[in-house]
Symmetry: C2
Subunit: 512 residues, 2 copies
């Protein structure tokens, strides 16, 4: 599971896990070598784009509780009525295309782990935002900062996630107004991969930027993007004061915002694919254009999170065909617009990491891979519609993330890849196991799953009839056991801790 | 799960299953409205094609134990050396393109269930060939004719499989030399969907054709395709006497052969994607061209079944990236050649219907859907590398098959689909649940899973914390309970049974 080659523990389970360890070359991010898939043709995409412009001009978008936002839109030429902002057709697109970068680098404190977001690149990040965690032994429970730390360690330990994520789970044992400091510190200290910042209040966004200045140096942060953050629309067609405030902080500091309509189709958007896609596009256009009004050139990522809905209960449903179709359309729109795209992940509404969880997760992961997602949040761990972060599912999902690496590497058409000589050497009715070509390509030939049991039924029985979740349980414990914290200059660590202390002391206790 | 609307049984589980019943319109087969995905460009595909022709000419293919086959190839211009047939470049392609149909109809005894194989169509068939079955209560055991009958009933009962399949499981309680008669009869009697014929010996293929003549009438069978059968190559590059013999029977009778290299890459083909694709294409070309030598115009389906291999144990592995890449390449080659394509299915090597089974199955099902598979064998039930047929996984997989229907229906770009008026009506910050557009599209809006639990955690707890397999267990029992045999003229039934009696009596008892 990790390519860092630590000493191995004892026991059969450990031996098994060790045998399964893939010899995967760690890459800071994926660069795809296969085409994207699209469901709509030029005409269909142009129709959705035109509808989004109609929505922006006729219906408009509400920017709530932020007078400055309304001023900025007014100056840009929008029609303001109360908090409703009606934006002339083409304005958002123009604002975005004249200044937002098509791709950008998010720097990590370890430069070898900096990621390139946009273009043909794909960056995989863990799940985000769940108040609960779950594992096989302790079941479902509120998440704590210990859980948060564990998941940062796990995300750091796998070669198949490129990003440490943000609110991997919500550490509800810490005060609401202070926990962002601990979360950001945990990403900085326990990992050296890039991370996401707090968005739950403008001042928490500012704390994130200030901590980044301690970590990277003030000058570096001024000139470079070191934080990505998740700015969700309140679909339909509303940006609230918290999100606007956080966006303004990050954009002003040249840090990246994932501008993401979060949408349960049927409730928060029309019950149809084309209607949902047009609304999502309108929402994203308005958010990304606003970031350009705040600071021209601020890096943005066009995000979508779309699920369908049970028409019986109103519950969101995942891994179903309609959100996949939305995903392909919106990914194509992002390419046409010329901005990086975020979506996908191991989405599901299962309560445990069973077959439902896996079918639904795979159904999103594989399509996100083909759609050309540049930044994939929720890649690993998601359960229960995002309410729960599962230790075992995290392991299963990073296995799938590994497969995405292999698929997007495409087809080797070199002479070695063509293998004509091997076919000539072996000939009809023989086998390829012993031939030179097989021996030479042995190690890199096939993706090797860490979780799958490919043994015979009899061997599986003899090994204790473990299911996939039980095998994953062994693996995450082994990974945590073998985790080694990346080095950090003690003075830098102390500076970060001092900043946190000073900030925490500034809050009255009553604000817990 | 079924759209036939029977009376419902009692109990909470039954009520739940009933609530989940999707209101899906049954279609005899899918016609795709979205594009296919391809991984290689023109240059890459041409390279694989050229390599396959090189393999056929330089290495050749063995046609074993069938003197007539060698004669036919000799007359066609191939170079014969023992049983090795070296085929001049371009000959196979020419033979196929001048006579094999690009698409064809396989007739069912119920004309409303006849399927169109090829082109933009997709026909979903259950899994094939497992000696074992498995369910939650009785675990894993040898399959019997009762199990076979159960799966024929289940495949008949779901609107999401279009085909009754062939050896859904191997009824090992019946004598090897007679069981094909019972299997074919079961497909004919307990279903009215199209089916597959026996291939385990030429005389069993002939029995299948003769029974089809009883069922459809001699003249109809002469002029129409009513049987599809599975002819596997022994990779690398061997056709054995049994397969050649069965192919000859079906081709001579104008019945369809799925000409399928069955290949575990790394053992039976090179360890690389491009090498495996070239070999598979060479094998399929030789088999399909041979069918045209036997009878010009005989319908053929270009089949592939490709898995990767654990380089540690030699065990086949499924749902991994490399076979997906092979699948996309070979599907494109079939389109370029102009013949229907078979691949895909819910492939996996899990021993139980857990998360491993589901990830691996989804990873093949979704890619087969996008690749443009025309005939998908193994759609439902497959477990344990094909050694076991799972009742619960069958239910999970047909749920996925339902989703394939919805995805391939594509995006509704009508005015209703665009839903602009709904967005105008609802406006920012409101919800779409009550609006007229949502009400009007309520029933057809989203695919509704029968197996997934989308309820809250608390509701799921109150419902007994069932996992996906436990819910599937309830559903298959309900489906079997509600199964109603399709009508058949008693005289026809008696004629089929009389044929079977006569054939069985012709075997000496010792041949059990």
């Amino acid at each position: 599971m990790t390519d860092r080659g630590r000493k191995r523990g004892g026991g059969r389970a450990a031996r098994q896990a060790s045998l399964n360890t893939p010899e995967t070359q760690s890459v800071p991010y994926i660069t795809r070598k296969v085409p994207v898939y699209e469901v709509l043709d030029e005409e269909g995409l142009a129709l959705i784009e035109a509808n989004a412009e109609t929505i922006l001009q006729e219906v408009g978008v509400e920017f709530r509780g932020d007078a400055e936002a309304l001023e900025l839109w007014k100056d840009a030429g929008a029609d303001i009525n109360g908090e409703r902002v009606r934006i002339p057709k083409g304005l958002c697109k123009k604002l975005i295309q004249q200044s937002a970068p098509a791709e950008f680098t998010q720097h990590a404190r370890n430069p070898a782990r900096s990621v390139r977001i946009g273009g043909k690149n794909m960056v995989l990040a863990p799940a985000y935002g769940s108040p609960f965690v779950r594992d096989l032994e302790k079941g479902r429970r509120y998440a704590t900062i210990d859980d948060f730390r564990n998941f940062v360690k796990l995300a750091y330990s796998t070669p198949f996630l490129h990003h440490s994520g943000g609110t991997i789970c919500e550490p509800v044992d810490l005060p609401v107004n202070k926990r962002h400091l601990d979360m950001v510190y945990t990403h900085m200290r326990y990992s050296d991969k890039p991370f996401m910042g707090s968005v739950t209040a403008p001042e928490r966004a500012q704390d994130t930027v200030d901590m980044a200045k301690v970590l990277f140096g003030e000058e570096f942060v001024r000139d470079n993007t070191v934080i990505t953050s998740l700015i969700n629309a309140n679909s339909p067609l509303v940006w609230d004061a918290t999100m606007i405030g956080a966006l303004k902080v990050y954009a002003r500091n040249n840090q990246a915002c994932v501008v993401s309509p979060f949408c349960i189709a049927g409730a928060m958007s029309p019950v149809t694919v084309a209607g949902t896609a047009a609304q999502l596009y309108a929402e994203a256009l308005s958010g990304m254009a606003f970031a350009q009004l705040v600071r021209p050139g601020a890096p943005v990522i066009f995000g979508t999170f779309s699920s369908s809905m049970s028409m019986q209960s109103g519950a969101p449903t995942f891994g179903t065909p309609e959100p996949q179709l939305v995903l392909y359309i919106v990914a194509a729109l992002a390419r046409r617009l010329g901005v990086p795209f975020r979506s996908g992940g191991g989405l599901n509404s299962a309560k445990i990491p069973d077959a439902q969880a896996a079918y639904e997760a795979a159904n999103t992961l594989q399509h996100a891979m083909l759609a050309g997602v540049n930044f994939m949040l929720h890649t690993a761990g998601w359960l229960e519609g995002g309410l729960s972060m599962s230790y075992e599912k995290f392991i299963m999902d990073i296995d799938q993330a590994g497969m995405i690496h292999s698929f997007l590497a495409g087809v080797d058409l070199s002479e070695n890849g063509q293998a004509l000589d091997a076919i000539r050497e072996v000939g009809p009715g023989k086998h390829f196991l012993g031939c030179e070509h097989t021996q030479n390509n042995f190690k890199t030939a096939f993706f090797r799953s860490s979780v799958a049991d490919n043994n015979s039924f009899e061997q599986w029985e003899a090994d204790g009839e473990l299911d996939s979740a039980q095998r994953a349980n062994i693996i995450w414990k082994k990974m945590l056991n073998e985790y080694e914290m990346p080095a950090m200059d003690p003075a830098l660590d102390e500076a970060l801790l001092a900043f946190i202390r000073q900030r925490k002391e500034s809050f009255p206790d009553a604000s817990y």
